[in-house]
């Protein structure tokens, strides 16, 4: 088990390394890094100082080492727009995105899996058909359009919920979280629903397909033959067995959700990373774009690693026993 873990960690490190090289070279590909990373209205002195600091006058490989060194020291440079260290900028926005994504994703899983299992258990019932129809629509509709409709219905027409921005926050460990306030939830609800809708539909469809496939299986028949109740069968056998593909897709889609947070944050003016990156793209704040890219890649690698580990945890057949 340990060997497996180390092997995976090693692979992750290799991918990180490759990505860092790609990003590094990419900066040169867009143009002269001096122009990329230094604000055009910086004075000569500042320019000289920055060139010395980043080593732009050094040979390429030395610059790369400097680059990696800075990365490991959490130095992503300074934002061209805000004139603050990028690291601070990102850390400021990260909690907002995290809580939005986590709420959306957890909600999708906790709601979607039971609904999907029910639809797979009784596929011909009216509720099941309704669930599937709703999931098809939730699956097809572009996220930004859902956002529009939600805002239009609940904010503009009904006036029940606010149309954007984050609610009141509570400071824990030096960071701000809005999940702990009621006002925070009022502001969080619409964007979380918006962001989680696609994933909810996906979870429903997957859970349904998995359940439907398992119900006629011998395992279920045998469990029933021993007198186990339907609830036991669903909870201990079916749920356990469908959790394997579900976790795999869940993990992969986590990345996609993070991507779509960009759209949601834009629509709801949610002060998170997504809004930051969009603004940065438009204002050509390249240090921020760079940092975002590296951060996101790191995030994906971590997710992949976690999914792999979860997979081995869930499926004992994948473990190599040293008996």
């Amino acid at each position: 088990m340990l060997g497996f873990f180390i092997q995976r960690l090693g692979q992750a490190a290799v991918v990180m390394f490759c990505t860092s090289v790609l990003v590094f070279l990419g900066v040169y590909a867009i143009g002269n890094p001096i122009d990329v990373l230094i604000s055009p209205d910086a004075t000569q002195e500042v320019r000289a100082e920055l060139i010395a600091r980043y080593g732009f006058d050094q040979p390429l490989y030395q610059q790369y080492f400097g680059f990696v060194n800075r990365l490991l020291n959490h130095d992503f440079g300074t934002s061209l727009v805000f004139n603050t260290p990028v690291t601070d900028l990102i850390l400021n926005r990260l909690p907002a995105t995290l809580e939005l994504t986590l709420v959306a994703v957890l909600g999708a899983a906790l709601l979607g899996i039971p609904l999907g299992m029910y639809a797979g258990y009784r596929p011909d019932s009216r509720s099941a058909r309704l669930i599937m129809a709703a999931s098809t629509i939730g699956f097809s509709v572009p996220t930004f359009w859902v956002g529009l409709v939600l805002i239009f219905t609940f904010s503009v027409t009904l006036g029940w919920l606010p149309a954007g921005s984050r609610g009141d926050t509570v400071t824990i460990f030096g960071t701000q979280w809005s999940v702990f306030t009621l006002d925070g939830w009022r502001h969080l609800l619409l964007p979380a629903v918006n962001l989680g809708l696609f994933k909810l539909s996906l979870m429903i469809r997957l859970a349904r397909a998995g359940t439907r496939e398992l119900m006629p299986s011998d395992t279920v028949k045998f469990a029933r033959a021993t007198g186990q109740s339907e609830w036991t069968v669903l909870r201990h056998h079916v749920l356990r067995l469908i959790s394997l593909p579900l976790v795999a897709v869940f993990g992969l889609e986590l990345g996609s959700t993070l991507a779509f947070a960009v759209v949601t944050e834009t629509i709801y003016s949610w002060p998170g990373l997504g809004k930051l990156i969009i603004d940065s793209i438009f204002s050509l704040d390249r240090p921020v774009m760079l940092a975002y890219l590296i951060l996101v890649t790191f995030f994906f690698i971590m997710i992949n690693l976690l999914v792999d580990i979860a997979y081995v945890g869930l499926d004992p057949r994948l473990r190599r026993k040293s008996r």
Binding site: T226, G227, Q228
Partner: protein, 322 residues
Amino acid sequence: MTPLLQVTDLATHFFTRAGALKAVDGVSFQLAPGEVLGLVGESGSGKTVTGFSLLGLIEPPGKIVRGSVRFEGHELIGMRERDLRSIRGRRLAMVFQDPTMTLNPVLTILRQMSLALQAHKQLSNDAIRARCIEVLTLVGIPDAGSRLDAYPHEFSGGMRQRVAIAIALLHNPSLIIADEPTTALDVSVQAQILTEMRDLVRRIGTSLIWISHDLATVSSLADRIAVMYAGRIVEEGPTAQVLKQPRHPYTQGLLDSLPSRTVPGQALPHIPGMMPSLLDLPQGCSYAPRCGRADDRCSSDPALTRVDAGAFRCHHPIGLDE
């Protein structure tokens, strides 16, 4: 003595897009306590569906359309699902064909046995463990205590089937239905499990219905044999009688095609033709198209005739035809 199990005119049909598939069409037999019945037939003859029907495990589009199954004095057909569930696994258990498919691959043996145990009884963890070790040892699994925390894929095929049998024995049922339990195993293991099961049921006194396509297997452990063809029982009787004096031509055909019966060097006899599609059974005797003894009389359905301790459905029974 009242029979443990009395099946009368059981019929289970599957209503598909293509029509009604008459998997089981009027099956009757009975079983005394402690008796072993061998239910023999080729694929599609309805033997497995019969087993499932007894347990009430028929799913749509299948439906038990008529008949009566009296088990331990209770009528199972039409019983409430809750009551049926209370009988399943506790008084009436089933062992399936392929243990690789029936055991849940992601749960430990202990977990699976525990779920089966707690379906009918609330026990402490220690009591559960003790009972599991007890039955596992009974079916011949060495060092049962340490095997409990293992997963199914860590066992060999034969061991897995033993585990399945152990699960069936957890509540000391009075009847076990075994659906081709050795077919998926290696030949050497087959013989082993066969013998062990035979000794086990004699020791505990459990009744057994052994479903198989292989007459030879069944002959070594069954007290009575019932031969199924196209959804019906065409012959049944005490094992010795059926083997030595078969009445139905199909039974004779099965016996003749056993390798042990032929002379080396001679071609292995087989029954020509195939079993008819259950969607489209011929009028009259369903075996007639393949039967060497058929004539015009066979266009009418033969009734069940009782003779000695057995019964058969044939217009031209072997040895009794005029």
